[in-house]
Amino acid sequence: MRTLFLLLSVFTIAAAAGESQIVLKDGQGKNLVISQCAMCHSLDYITMNDKILDRAGWEKTVGKMINVMGAPIGDADKQIIIDYLARNYVK
């Protein structure tokens, strides 16, 4: 319970500090990207890497989040997330 409290405090602090001002580009799959990616990290990880990765790069990154970092994202959602990133934040 203590850790849970800490966890939620982290979210609250982060959101208060400006995380809520990060705005992703509109596009199909955006809400899924927000709900899945922001589970573990702020969305500036996406905007910070804008124009750096090609589609294959985003596939690799999303794959790493699932296979290495353990994000519980199924294949169908994975594809929607990759498509969104590759359309909106591609090199």
Binding site: L4, S20, T47, I52
Partner: protein, 398 residues
């Protein structure tokens, strides 16, 4: 420990509760801010925000004018979002592992009381500092030049603590774990390991003070590792566990992350973690930074201009810093300022009097006592580490 799967549900709930955030996300009006965002974490002054969660913040380079970077301006770098505010009186350091004779558990008070104090000035430098300057770009936190800071660290020697527990003959590596963790139970915990020799180095400390004050929360309160000369990935914050191991530690953060190609950089000191093609990043490379000029800046003619900066290496010490004001055609020695020890950065200055109203191209190049000097182009590597190319700053004299 409570089951983290339970947390995921709760976190999802917590996120949903931040409804305004989602609403804001749905009505995307503002363009994506690529511009610099400054933001102050609790207890810190405004720093350059790279990411909010986990918090990654760099120091504006003009603050490197001070020989020791103030604690409230010191950069912040985390891999995980769950960063508990550790209470000093509840904190314990566990010393264990399969190659330790007597596992120990120490309080902060015991650490302070039972071991000889040690102090060292040392540069703490993120492996990926200047990653954002690589061309072509490399994915990851897009650091500028401010993911570093110089501080006076005070604590006790790791080797004294390990000696208290007793090191078995089979000891090969010493792993380090901190109190932070990922949001999900499935995310690999940030655990690093050191070769035994580095763990036993007289300069490797468990520090609880930074510049004469307790460590700031965001820099590892109440205790962190200091491994002078090595990049900051090993400088474990909020240290909770030290394990003496008889086998190479094979967690993600050693086996896969923080790797550099073999034979491309100097230094090969971690044989138990090397593969045929790559090795863990270890020592810093020789480097320098001009801290008081910005590319494209205009300065007045016929007025002396003091060019200032810092230089550092892996602990051999800086032999010289040379400055060019003509795009690398001629080079002149900068004056090295006070020496705070071979693991501290070295501040330098150079007086320049521009005589013409035109563009000048300024460069700084440091050379280590090892003989190593900075390259003119960064050495490519997949994760964008060790960017130590000579800076090129164009100034307009008008």
């Amino acid at each position: 420990m409570v089951d983290r799967r339970h947390f995921i549900k709760k976190v999802a709930g917590g996120l949903a509760a931040l409804g305004s955030w989602f609403l804001l996300q749905r009505s995307s009006l503002a363009a994506d801010p690529v511009a610099t965002i400054t933001d102050a974490l609790t207890g810190k002054k405004a720093l350059i925000k790279k990411s909010y969660r986990p918090p990654n913040y760099e120091t504006p380079v003009n603050y490197f004018d001070a020989p020791f970077t103030p604690n409230d301006l010191f950069f912040v770098r985390y891999h995980h979002s769950v960063i508990p505010e550790v209470k000093a009186e509840e904190w314990r350091l566990r010393v264990g592992g399969d190659a330790v004779r007597t596992p120990l558990e120490l309080t902060l008070e015991q650490l302070r009381r039972d071991f000889k104090p040690a102090e060292i000035a040392a540069l703490c430098l993120c492996s990926g500092n200047r990653r954002g300057l690589f061309q072509p770009h490399v994915p990851g936190v897009q650091w500028g030049s401010g993911a570093m800071g110089n501080a006076l660290w005070r604590g006790v020697r790791l080797r004294d603590v390990l000696a208290g527990a007793g090191i078995g003959e089979s000891a090969l590596e010493v792993s380090l774990d901190g109190a932070d963790s990922g949001t999900l139970k499935t995310t690999p915990d940030f655990i690093k390991s050191l070769p035994l020799a580095k763990a036993l180095d007289e300069n490797t400390l468990i520090a609880f003070e930074m510049n004469g004050e307790p460590l700031p929360h965001w820099n590892g309160f109440p205790a962190r590792l200091i491994i002078p000369g090595w990049t900051a990935t090993y400088w474990m914050k909020h240290l909770t566990e030290v394990n003496v191991l008889s086998k190479p530690f094979d967690g993600f953060w050693m086996k896969t992350a923080y790797r550099i190609p073999r034979d491309r950089f100097p230094g090969r000191q971690f044989s138990s973690q090397e593969t045929a093609t790559n090795m863990p990043i270890t020592e810093m490379v020789v480097n320098s930074l001009i801290t008081n000029l910005i590319d494209g800046q205009t300065v007045p003619a016929f007025k002396p201009l003091e060019i200032k900066g810092v230089a550092w290496d892996d602990g051999n010490g800086i032999a010289r810093v040379e400055i060019s004001t003509d795009d690398g055609v001629s080079w002149h020695h900068a004056t090295l300022k006070q020496d705070y020890g071979r693991f501290s950065w070295r501040q330098w200055r150079y007086d320049f009097e521009p005589k013409r109203t035109r563009e000048y191209r300024i460069m700084a190049r440091a050379t280590s006592h090892s003989g190593a000097s900075q390259p003119f182009e960064p050495i490519p590597n997949p994760s964008g580490y060790h960017h130590n190319a000579v800076q090129k700053i164009a100034i307009q004299v008008a």
